[in-house]
């Protein structure tokens, strides 16, 4: 690799109002506005939007997007399985720095790898002009029965998320959190345990963890969770006996049962029809007491689909890039720590990743 035909990624990866943009490939990663070409890492709404012309995504992510936004969510939908690549022709620019001048047109090669965040979640490896750049997307390093584990992909530049990028965040094992819920059912056998979970990923992971803990009773679901649970089942992830709350005629019979609903439904009028609700919330934010209290969680379960601090550091060490770009979350602390560990680090601020709106 010689200096004249390599171009550092800081020259060809940009951010703008729509999001992270690869200039020579003319595509965006997880854009927030409709664009011509979008590469989507996973199906959460703060990453996957409808209305793009062309979408490249893992087949399961594509299925999530069509489930949520309809079959016509993008004109062209190109599924890319894990470890497979797509190539983009280099867009010729007037930039004299362009690598194509001497060797004819070069390609931008993008490969999808598992990220361990939710069903279909992917990291993207972009190879161009002598550099390997990995966009982690959202990821975690723990076991998750709904998706293959995060794969360490060697690279020069790693763009990592930092949602829980503070050393105070250390997520306990999910088994321990599920035991808290089961214990609460013992102590409050007549209360309906209403668990706030995000519809995509968290909901299904909580159901599976309950099943693994030996909970075989039916689990009741708010209507907003049904479609995605169906999708998971179609993808071969068995969730056991799940029943829509709307099909329960006598709501009083839900005393002592587990009901899953989107977090917003916890304080909503919808929950008033349930008997003697105990408000449970499953989220990584629940680790901070005041946060949990603000959300009116009576029983906070620290269950996250993101890396905690130790996992972020583990990833830096294992991937061992020469440079780290830190995005949405608490960038400051992770940048500070990455520099302490000897990495070149900078913050990459992206629009649209608001904590309150963030699905985990």
């Amino acid at each position: 690799m010689t200096a004249e035909n390599t171009i550092h990624p800081s020259k060809w990866m940009k951010t703008d109002d729509a999001g992270l943009y690869c200039v020579p490939g003319d595509f965006y990663i997880d854009p927030m506005q409709p664009v011509d070409t979008a590469l989507v890492t996973h199906g959460h709404a703060d990453h996957a939007r409808a209305g793009h012309k062309r979408v490249f995504a893992h087949p399961q992510t594509m299925a999530i997007m069509t489930t949520r936004y309809g079959d016509d969510m993008a004109e062209v939908q190109i599924p890319v399985p894990y470890r497979e690549s797509v190539e983009f022709d280099e867009v010729t620019t007037t930039d004299s720095n362009s690598a194509s001048t001497e060797q004819g047109q070069r390609k931008i090669k993008v490969t999808f790898y598992p990220a361990g965040h939710i069903l279909g979640s992917s990291q993207l490896l972009i190879e161009y002009a002598g550099y390997r750049l990995v966009i982690s997307g959202d990821y975690k390093r723990r076991h998750d029965p709904t998706c293959p584990p995060f794969e360490v992909v060697p690279c020069d530049v790693l763009i990592t998320e930092a949602t829980f990028g503070l050393p105070v965040f250390a997520h306990p094992p999910i088994e321990q959190e599920i035991q808290k819920l089961l214990h609460s059912l013992d102590v409050f056998p007549t209360r309906c345990h209403l668990v706030g979970t995000y519809a995509l990923g968290k909901c299904q992971r909580v159901i599976l963890a309950l099943r693994e803990a030996g909970y075989t009773k039916p689990i009741y679901l708010h209507g907003a969770l049904l479609k995605l649970c169906d999708l998971y089942e179609r993808e071969g992830i068995a969730l056991g006996d799940i029943i829509p709350v709307s099909e329960v005629e006598d709501k009083a019979s839900l005393a002592g049962e587990i009901v899953l609903a989107p977090p917003s439904a916890l304080a909503d009028r919808w929950s008033r029809s349930l008997p003697h609700v105990r408000a449970v919330l499953a989220s990584g934010w629940m680790q901070i007491r005041a946060r949990a209290k603000q959300r009116n969680a009576e029983l906070p379960l620290i269950i996250s689909d993101h890396c905690d601090w130790p996992e972020l550091l583990q990833t830096l060490t294992e991937v061992n890039p020469s440079e780290v770009w830190v995005t949405h979350g608490r960038e400051d602390a992770l940048m500070y720590q990455a520099q302490k560990m000897g990495f070149k680090a900078r913050a990459l601020s992206l629009v649209g990743y608001d904590e309150a709106a963030q699905e985990e």
């Binding site: 503070l166 050393p167 105070v168 965040f169 250390a170 306990p172 609460s184 102590v187 409050f188 304080a267 909503d268 009028r269 929950s271 008033r272 680790q287 901070i288 007491r289 005041a290 949990a292 209290k293 603000q294 009116n296 969680a297 009576e298 029983l299 906070p300 608490r330 400051d332 602390a333 500070y336 720590q337 302490k340």
Partner: protein
């Protein structure tokens, strides 16, 4: 320690007194002595010493964690104990976590030099929530929303006793309360506290009704001022080798530490013996009564500075005696107790309008007819330091609780202003999910400034309407707080207005409640801040 930490964890997040009680009852039934007794002490605030200082904790963490990362974390978490609990870098889980009582014993006996290393060892074998529990316990900073009175209520329920029984015993028993719990479980006789300085449950009054005023027969009643302080009980026993004195709030909380000036005034020069006085605690400059606001400054301080005691000296207006010179008086009629009280003041050379004494005998007023009683009420209420009248049956014996037809309070008419609703927040318990806590403001030029918050005074039916109005007129959100359109006028009643530096409006209302909802009134016709300020008592 594990069970205690689990309990705190659940209490912290559980809303509602009943649910909290359920958790504590479950804990009491499943936890052995002496751990459960120490837990009660921790929750009721009756632990006698700090295990370690806050500074020790800060020093330990800064030795272990990068100061930048600590600062960023603390900034996000907002609380030191929790930040430390999460950041503590060493974790060697120990299957045999020490029991709560072992922890208490260890810190009670450890030498000063070893406090820090002992704490560090504990933090290392604990999970974050256990660490948090230890840090809160050790600095006596536990706030779990269970007041001391609720703990007593829960103990009463646990032993199927009346709460007055627990209250009678409470200050005669000490942590870890093994004797008390054994009695509650029916395994031991009631603890003997005959010689202890304890709180006696107080007798309370009913609001007076118009018919009570009309039926007033002068010779049957004792009339006194109702002052706007707090009801306290002064309990002394000088017959012991170590004379004991204590001041209790009406709920039985020991507030002695906050009022050493008052307690010191009961000294060896006085005839005391065994004594229980019932009275009103106030800030008093000689015999002049200051406002509740002045008292509030004293109540906020656990340990008052000399300067504060000088500017806001505590005084007690005594209106009843339960025990005097070792003699139990509760079964005697009020008229007899009053005579005994007057004789005791005489004997100790405290004259009415005595300038030096901290103790003052409550003045008896007179009215010869219902009409005169009304005139008297009107007259005394002109004095802003007075909250109204107390009218007590002369034949009443001292009965804890709120017996009917014995004591009446006749408060001054409340002050009212028309204020505009600004923010609303959801309530708790049966009101959760209803917007039931309202912040309201008064106009200053074109701007509304919040003057208070109220969550009572309306019916369930009105609450539904208010909740609905909030939902339809919300314009913003700050965490759990909704901002609403500045359109709804609330007629707010309150007992007094005080100047306040804490609030932007510069005023604080005492006991504000919703008096009426003025669906009809345009917001721009609500009161101005200067209207409100004009009501400040001088």
């Amino acid at each position: 320690m594990r069970a205690f930490s689990d309990l705190l964890e659940q209490l912290y997040y559980t809303a509602g007194t009943k649910a909290k009680a359920q958790l504590i009852l479950h804990y009491l039934a499943t936890t052995p002595d002496p751990d459960r007794g120490w837990a009660i002490a921790a929750m009721a605030g009756t632990l006698r010493f700090d295990f370690f200082k806050r500074n020790t904790v800060k020093k330990l963490i800064t030795e272990r964690v990068d100061s930048e990362l600590f600062a960023m974390s603390y900034d996000y978490v907002g609380e030191v104990s929790e930040t430390v609990a999460h950041l503590w870098p060493e974790f060697t889980p120990d299957k045999t976590l020490p029991s709560l009582s072992e922890v208490v014993d260890t810190f009670a006996n450890v030498s000063k030099q070893k406090v820090a290393s002992t704490l560090a060892n504990y933090l290392t074998i604990m999970t974050p929530s256990q660490r948090w529990a230890l840090l809160k316990l050790g600095t006596r900073g536990l706030r779990i929303g269970v007041p001391a009175r609720s703990i007593k209520q829960i103990l009463a329920e646990y032993g199927n006793q009346d709460i007055t029984e627990i209250e009678k015993l409470w200050h005669g028993v000490t942590p870890p309360y093994t004797d008390l719990l054994a009695w509650l479980e029916g395994n031991a006789p009631k603890p003997d506290i005959s010689n202890a300085v304890t709180f006696h449950p107080v007798m309370l009054s009913h609001p007076i009704a118009q018919s009570d005023i009309d039926d007033f027969i002068p010779e049957q009643w004792q009339i006194e001022h109702k002052f706007d302080g707090i009801r306290v009980q002064l309990v002394c026993n000088t017959t012991k080798e170590e004379p004991e004195k204590a001041l209790f709030s009406r709920t039985g909380d020991d507030i002695s530490h906050a009022f050493p000036d008052l307690l010191d005034s009961v000294n060896a020069n006085m005839v005391v013996d065994n004594m229980v006085l019932d009275g009103e605690l106030l800030v008093m400059h000689n015999d002049e009564v200051n406002t509740f606001n002045a008292l509030q400054q004293r109540l906020n301080k656990k340990k008052p500075t000399a300067a504060l005691m000088k500017t806001n000296p505590a005084g007690l207006i005594v209106y009843d005696a339960l025990v005097l010179e070792g003699k139990q008086l509760t079964d005697s009629p009020l008229v007899t107790r009053r005579k005994a009280l007057e004789a005791w003041f005489d004997k100790n050379g405290i004259q009415e309008q005595d300038n030096k004494s901290r103790l003052h005998l409550s003045e008896c007023l007179s009215a010869d007819s219902p009409t005169e009683l009304k005139a008297l009420h009107k007259r005394v209420c002109e004095n802003r330091a007075v909250e109204g009248l107390m009218i007590k049956r002369s034949s009443s014996s001292y009965v804890p609780g709120r017996p009917k037809g014995q004591w009446y309070k006749w408060k001054r008419d409340p002050l009212v202003v028309d204020a505009v609703m600004m923010y609303a927040q959801r309530g708790h318990g049966k009101r959760s999910s209803f917007y039931s806590d309202y912040t309201f403001g008064a106009w200053q030029d074109e701007q509304l400034l919040p003057i208070g918050k109220a969550y009572s005074g309306f019916t369930d039916e009105e609450l539904k309407k208010l909740d609905n109005w909030v939902r339809r007129n919300a314009i913003g959100r700050f965490g759990p707080v909704r901002e609403v359109k500045k359109e709804l006028v609330l007629e707010v009643a309150f007992d007094a207005v005080h100047p306040s530096k804490r609030h932007k409006s510069g005023v604080a209302l005492r006991f504000p409640r919703i008096h009426r909802i003025r669906w009809d009134k345009p917001a721009n016709e609500a009161d101005t801040l200067s209207n409100v300020k004009a009501l400040i008592e001088q």
